[in-house]
Symmetry: C2
Subunit: 241 residues, 2 copies
Amino acid sequence: MPTLSTKADDIARVLEDEIVGGVIPPDTVLRQEFLSERFEVSRTPVREALRRLAALGLVSFEPNRGVRVRSISAHELREAFLVRAELEALATEVATPKLTPDDLAEMDRIERRFGELTLELRAQARSGAPRDSALFVEWMQANYAFHDVIYRAAELPLVERIAKGARRTFMGDRAWRARAELDELYAKNDLQHRAIREAIGAGSAQAARVLAREHVLSSNRLIEVVLETLGAAGREPGWGR
Amino acid sequence: MPTLSTKADDIARVLEDEIVGGVIPPDTVLRQEFLSERFEVSRTPVREALRRLAALGLVSFEPNRGVRVRSISAHELREAFLVRAELEALATEVATPKLTPDDLAEMDRIERRFGELTLELRAQARSGAPRDSALFVEWMQANYAFHDVIYRAAELPLVERIAKGARRTFMGDRAWRARAELDELYAKNDLQHRAIREAIGAGSAQAARVLAREHVLSSNRLIEVVLETLGAAGREPGWGR
DNA sequence: TTCGTCAATTTCGGATCCAAGAACGCCGTC
DNA sequence: GACGGCGTTCTTGGATCCGAAATTGACGAA
C-alpha cells in the first residue's frame, strides 16, 4: 500500500482539530515526549508536526522551552472577525453571479434547518436554561454550511483558506452563559442569512457584499456575548498541569 | 550566550527570503541533503524548516518525493491581489483616524522619493530601454514603505501578516519587458498614493478605504503587465537541474 | 523567613543511523 | 524497436542517541 501521508501530517491534523475544537485548552504546554507516547511514534515526527502548528499560528514556539497552545485575546478575536468580514464580503460578491439554482436550493435547505436551530436557541436564551453545548455546535455547523456554499461557488481557494483559518480560535474552553441579548442576536443572525440569500437571488452582488460584511461583524458581537468569558473552567483531565 | 533561535528557524527564514525574492526559482526541487550541506547542519533541522515553508504555502510537500518550490499561476496571483485589496482597504480605514502628524510627514517623505523613482521608471518605459531590475526593486520597496506606515498605524497585526504574505509570490524569475502601457500605469500608481495621502489628511476614512482598494487592484494590473511572462529564463546556476 | 547559589533532573535541539519508498536503468520478451 | 518486469541506487521518513539549555529543588547565608 503506497503511503499517502506522513505521520507528521497525521499528527498535525489531529492536534489542529483538537486545538481549534477546544479539546486542548489554550495555554496548554505540549510536551514532545507525551505526544510521542500518545501517537506511538518517536519525537521526530512530533516536532515536525509542531513546526507546522507554529507556522499556522496555533501554538507559540519558545526555543528550548517547548510549545504552548496560543490563547487568543479579545483584541485578536475582534481582528480575526474583521478579516473574515472583509473576505466573506469579497467571496459573496464574487459568488453572486456564479451561484446556480442548485446552489440556491441548497442554501434554502440549509437556511431552513438553521432557522429551526435558531428558534431552539432563542427559546433556550429566553428561558435562561443552562446552555446545551451540542445544540450550539450544531447551530454553528449549519451556520458554516451556509457560508460554505458561497465559498464553494466563489472559487477563491486562497480567500477560503484564510477566512476559515480566521474562523477558528474561539470555540475554546471558556464557559458561556445565556443572556437576554442573545435572543435578539440569534434572530438577527438568521434574518441576515435570509437577506443575503435574497440579495443573491436578486442578482445584486453589491448588496450581497455589504450584507455579508455586516453579518460577520454582527456574528462577532454574538460570539463576544456568548463567550462572556467566565474564566477558564472545566478543563479536561490529562491536559492541564 | 543564551539561544534566541533554533537552526531550523534560521534556515526557514533564509529559504523564505530566497523563495519570495526569486533567488530560488519556482519548480525547484529542494533536496534535503543539499540544503544540509549548504547550511552545515544535519537533515533534521532542514526538514523542520521545510515543514514550516510548506505550512506557509511556499513549497508543496509530496510524501517520499521531496519538496518543490510552488509556482504561482496567473489566477492565484490575481486572487492574492484581491485579498490584499480588501485587507489594505480595511487597514487604511482603521489607520486613518490614528495617523499622527509625524506619520503623515513620513508618508510625504516616502511619497516624494516614490515620485522620483516613478519618473525614472516612466522614462525607461517610454524609451523602451532594457529594464533596470535594481531600479524596479527600489521602486517596489518605496511602494511597500508607503503602505507600511499605514499598517503600522492601523495596529492590526493579523491583517498585516496576511496581507504581507499575499504580497510576495510574484517577484519570481520571469523576464519582464517594457511597454507603452507601463508609463501610464506607473503614473496612475503614483497619483493613487497621493490621493490616499490626501484622503487620510482630510480625515475621510471611507474615501481612503475605497482609494486603497482601487489602488491595490490597479497594482495588480501593473504587475500583470510587468511580468508579461516571457517564460522562465535566466535561472541562477546551482538551483536548476 | 527569604533570597541566592549550585547541583540534579527534565526537556529540548540536533546528529547519526536504519528501514522503506521512489526513481532509474538494465535486461528480457513480444 | 517498444514495452514491461526486476534489481540497484538514491532519497526520504522515522528511530535512537547525545550534548546543551532550562527548570527544579535542596542547601546555606543574610
